[in-house]
């Protein structure tokens, strides 16, 4: 078996606040193969964004701290790297697209300048892969790659002259300009309209084809996931509760939370009726419920669920579930 591109093991990222320790990521394990699109889904506060930030070591500290775990990327543990080494990895090997392109772009520099910056820094100065004169050509090439119309004129414009969809494209251009092997996209289309979302998703699929970049796609939108991903990991209250390939997960969800989440989505083409709901609320991450964190809301909760935290069980090849219903000491 080829070495996975990214291997996250027992990752724990806590935030130390006055009112207590927020266990935002509380033991996350997953792997990503080369060229794969892995979807990380879950609701607000489940820890999906913090997982992404931890991989890049961008968690604000204090109050945040990665307290445990390993992030093995191309065979090396990122958590053991120096800050300087990390800086070189960010943007060249791993890059990240954020939800809101308005706040990710600097308003006082032109789009072209901002795309040129990582190229000049990493490719010209650090790695000597390119000469300075070649940078403008590369910028133009990137703009064309992300399908910005009329790039010759657009390159000297400022972010405020770009629409939301165009800004997100410019962000993508910037992020893939150094050919990263992993792209982390945190809710990349949440801030744009549906027709623009369709364009951006199409662009990302296309880029994966052309460049072979692996994508860790973080989203709460199950529709986007269904269109984009090869494999899915579902997060709940700081843990991954289920992992499977896309089709299997949608057709046969095993974890009660996954099934509930899938049933709660209104779908085009279904009759008007009651949506399935999950009773209760997302638990506090400071004092999570004992045992399985989902047990207070779970329709199948048993005694053991209230006491023991369930382990991840591989019920089929590549099919992982963290639930007492599928093994351990429990019988149905």
């Amino acid at each position: 078996m080829p070495e996975p591109l990214l291997k996250v093991q027992g990752l724990k990222t806590y935030f130390f606040l006055e009112r207590g320790v927020v266990k935002a990521v509380d033991g996350v394990d997953f792997e990503m193969k080369k060229g794969e699109i892995l979807g990380l889904v879950g609701e607000t506060g489940c820890g999906k964004s913090v997982t992404a930030l931890s991989i890049l070591r961008l968690v604000q500290s204090p109050p945040g701290k990665i307290v445990e775990g390993k992030v093995i990327f191309e065979g090396e543990d990122l958590l053991k790297k120096s800050n300087e080494e990390m800086r070189k990895i960010r943007g060249t090997k791993i890059s990240m697209i954020f939800q809101d392109p308005h706040t990710s772009l600097d308003p006082v520099f032109t789009i072209g300048y901002q795309i040129a910056e990582p190229i000049a820094l990493h490719q010209v100065i650090e790695q000597h892969l390119m000469r300075a004169e070649e940078v403008p050509g590369k910028v133009m090439e990137m703009l064309k790659l992300v399908r910005i119309p009329d790039p010759e004129h657009r390159v000297v414009e400022y972010p405020h002259q770009f629409s939301g969809g165009m800004k997100q494209r410019a962000m993508i251009a910037m992020m893939i300009s150094c050919n990263p092997s992993l792209l982390i996209a945190d809710e990349p289309t949440t801030a744009v309209d549906v027709t623009i979302q369709a364009q951006i998703l199409d662009l990302m699929r296309d880029l994966r084809q052309k460049l072979g970049t692996s994508v860790l796609l973080i989203t709460h939108n199950l529709g986007v996931v269904a269109e984009m991903c090869d494999r899915l990991a579902v997060m709940y209250a700081g843990n991954i509760v289920e992992q499977a390939d896309l089709k299997t997960l949608f057709e046969d969800p095993k974890h009660p939370y996954t099934s509930a989440l899938l049933a709660a989505v209104p779908k085009v083409g279904t009759k008007k009726m009651e949506l399935e709901t999950i009773p209760g609320m997302v638990p506090s991450l400071i004092t999570p419920p004992p045992g399985c964190k989902f047990h207070p809301r779970c329709p199948h909760a048993m005694d053991i669920c209230r006491k023991e935290f369930p382990q991840m069980i591989e019920i089929d090849k590549g099919r992982l579930v963290r639930c007492h219903l599928y093994g351990g000491g429990s019988k149905k």
């Binding site: 609701e43 309209d193 027709t195 199950l222 989505v265 779908k267 085009v268 949506l275 997302v282």
Partner: protein, 358 residues
Amino acid sequence: MSSRIPRTKSRPAKAEIAALSGKARVSGEKLIEVKSLKKYFETKRGIFARERKWVHAVDDVNFYIRRGEVFGLVGESGCGKTTVGKLILGLIRPTTGEIDFDGHNIAEFDKEELRKLRRRMGIIYQHPQSSLNPRMTVHTILSRPIDIHKIAQGEKKEEIILKVLEEVGLEPQHLDRYPHEFSGGQQQRIAIGRVLVLNPDFVVLDEPTSALDVSVQAHILNLLGELQSKFDFTYLLISHDLNIVEHMSDRIGVMYVGKMVELADKEELRRNALHPYTRSLLAAVPIADPKHKRTGAILKGEVPSTINPPPGCRFHPRCPYAKPICREKEPEFKDVDGGHYVACLFVKSLRHKWPSPA
């Protein structure tokens, strides 16, 4: 009382209908009708700006909403859907056009008449955090509308508040708390309660669940549906999320850059969408089903500005089937098939399958 709004008249009729069917029924009677509605906003003028520029937020829109139905309004940001909602509530005044609410043109109402009218209307906004006053307790928030419209006092008022609290799924002990002590879903319940205390006829839901998570969204949508059948509300549901609009609505209107481009029954729109924009919009919605294959081409280009909307058909720069005439002639919004309205010059060829784009 010489109010132009006959408040009591509609009530028994609604109750009867509800009693007959056991569920909210669309009576066919028009509660709201909007005729040639236009709203232009003037843009901020710089010191050196010579000409006045106008945002054509809503530009000649016609439709009606039947009593007891859920009318969905979809479109992308800046298409004017929220402006339509505000115009109907009388929160902003139309530039020209008519808004009939229960037989009265509210575009001509004065302030006092509008204030009285608002007792019969409500709105639920996208962000409950910003639509609830952070310095008011839940009790104050819920009693304000009752006080303003002098609906009840003392014990009677408390009775209404407790009843509403139960309807929206909150507990009496929540009354003394402040909005920040609640989760997003609960805040939205408070906002719904604030509308419910007036027992209005008509409620505008402006992106009611866009700020919420999927599982909370399901709770709120169910609650809104439940309340609608219980109290016979008429809803105008404004959303960019076609999944939600499809789930909730009876009829759906599609807006594009200030214009209504298509309007039809939910089923009709899904099976037989005619306008090229509606088709692209339907195709662009991601479906939470891996087996689903995307149909139709991805729309090119961007939503044009409402300051200088394209001449002719506003969709022509992005339309895969645009012909030269689309650039000049503005299409009429016409009924093509018993309540299915479309604004496209090639409505005849729309009846058949579109040719594949060149």
